[in-house]
């Protein structure tokens, strides 16, 4: 990793630094506790980069892990806010030069460390965050091409950690699947596997997040390749599989430990859900059903959560294929990107709940009733 010049200066001055998860941590910062004892803590600053250039810490927010920093008499320093503590980051610090933000991380670290360790020096003159030589360590590789500075700036690291890791599969990259990808790509999972065998055509653009340009259709590129290209700008580890999953290639799902099933063919849905249930892979199945009326389109937006462990459940009936072709108007007459986005958002919300990101009881099956503007749940159990 290329090191920012401001961080190079900190390193040359002897600081002990860690770069990880869109944060810069300065270790061994001496500070005075309420008991007027000198201890060492860690200063954490947001670290965001755009185009390879590190952005200066904009608003003077930083965090401190350790005892509450105090003056030499044991009175809490005025820029310390222990009432705002974030898991993993520590207590909030709010300090910046008058009437402006910091120029760079060197100025920010210098100002914050001086303010924290100055009282410590009045008790122990040799106390300093600087050693000889300076050190820098880098954390585990990020799943993102650039860091989310809001994670450190707003102290949300611990919540994001609940979604960290694992391989998520998205089966079917139509309207709903593409919106699922849009949301999952903003989470720190390790890998996102995409399964679809269709080409990306103009009608797909009208049910896909973002705005495709006309020249994207000229080469008849596969949906999975197009979406992998777009979202790899942000998230690493996106793996396209140009394949229509059926009974002969379900082994492709062996690489995922969670799957969103967003296909539009009931027979494929039946086969894929059956395969995932046999492998005991937890999954969420999405589906929209529309019908016409004089008042407009009516119908349901369904989300079905299959927890780990496989086996039969009451909602497994949805995995059975219909006995006759669908007369659903969706396929022929309506673009409903809003319902695709809603289905995807409900599915991703349920997945995040299953990972402990959102609270509440695990959900089984639920549906949005379009004409009732209502979200209804199946009974638990």
């Amino acid at each position: 990793m290329r090191v920012d010049p401001a961080i190079e200066r900190l390193l040359a001055e002897g600081y002990d630094l860690v770069v990880e998860d869109a944060t810069l941590t300065v270790r061994d910062v001496p500070h005075v506790t309420r008991e007027r004892v000198v201890r060492r803590g860690e200063l954490v600053l947001p670290l965001a980069a755009v185009g390879g250039r590190v952005l200066p810490p904009r608003d003077g927010f930083a965090w401190f892990r350790g005892d509450t920093p105090c003056d030499a008499d044991g009175n809490m320093l005025g820029f310390v806010h222990p009432e705002r503590t974030a898991e993993k980051l520590g207590m909030l610090l709010c300090l910046h030069p008058a009437h402006r933000g910091f120029r760079d991380h060197h100025e920010a670290v210098t100002m914050l460390v001086n303010a924290i360790e100055r009282p410590a020096r009045s008790i122990r003159p040799e106390a300093s965050a600087k050693g000889e030589p300076g050190r820098i360590a880098f954390g585990a590789p990020s799943p993102f091409e650039y860091g989310d500075d809001a994670v450190a700036r707003e102290g949300t690291t611990a919540w994001n950690d609940r979604l960290r890791g694992g391989s998520v599969g998205i089966v079917g990259l139509g309207g709903t699947g593409s919106y699922v990808l849009d949301l999952v790509a903003k989470t720190p999972v390790d890998r996102i596997h995409l399964f679809d065998d269709d080409a990306f055509l103009p009608h797909n653009a009208f049910r896909t997040p973002g705005a495709a340009s006309a020249d994207e259709f000229e080469a008849s590129i596969a949906k999975v390749d197009r979406m992998a290209d777009v979202y790899s700008r942000m998230h690493r580890g996106i793996v396209p599989h140009r394949a229509r999953l059926d009974g002969g290639n379900l082994h492709l799902l062996d690489v995922v430990d969670f799957a969103f099933v967003c296909v539009d063919d009931p027979v494929s849905r039946h086969v894929i859900l059956g395969g995932l249930r046999r492998k005991a892979v937890p999954c969420i199945d999405c589906g929209i059903g529309l019908r016409t009326s004089a008042d407009g389109l009516l119908g349901l937006v369904r989300t079905t959560v299959y927890p780990p462990g496989g086996g039969e459940r009451a909602c497994d009936g949805d995995a059975r294929p219909p006995l006759e072709p669908s007369d659903d108007p969706y396929r022929f007459r309506a673009q409903v990107a809003d319902l695709n986005a809603l289905n995807a958002a409900l599915a991703v919300t349920a997945w995040k709940r299953s990972r402990g990101f959102y609270g509440g009881l695990p959900t089984g099956q639920f549906a949005y009733v379009i004409d009732g503007n209502l979200l209804v749940n199946a009974p638990h159990g």
């Binding site: 999405c286 006995l323 669908s326 659903d328 009732g372 199946a378």
Partner: protein, 115 residues
């Protein structure tokens, strides 16, 4: 809600599959029996069409039967209801399960396979 304005009405045979007697202990429970109390009559709305049904309960399969007019196909459907009994005024029905019927209860039944 405008969905109740469609006036196609059907009177349902209480002995047809999908209609079961009311369960005393819960509004939504698994149904293993069919049949019902012929004396009870309810007017309900399924996919915007009003139906007159006899009996105290209706099952997932019974709702799908009313929705598609053929009364047999239910696999792959999702069935939701609103304006239901006080114990469960709204919810989803699972295959093999049913709900207590109340007057003017509204059902939505459709295959939900599109992505």
């Amino acid at each position: 809600m405008a969905i109740t304005t469609n006036t196609t009405e059907r009177t349902i045979d209480p002995t047809a599959p999908g209609y079961a007697a009311a369960a005393p202990d819960a509004a939504v429970v698994p149904d293993t029996a069919v049949g019902g109390s012929a004396q009870a009559t309810r007017s309900i709305v399924v996919n915007g069409v009003r139906h007159v049904v006899h009996g105290d309960r209706i099952t997932f399969e019974g709702v799908v039967g009313l929705a598609d007019g053929r009364g047999t196909r239910s696999d792959g459907h999702t069935v939701a209801f609103t304006r239901g009994p006080v114990e469960a005024p709204e919810g989803l029905l699972m295959p093999g399960h049913g709900t207590v019927l109340v007057e003017d209860q509204v059902f939505h039944a459709t295959a939900t396979h599109e992505g």
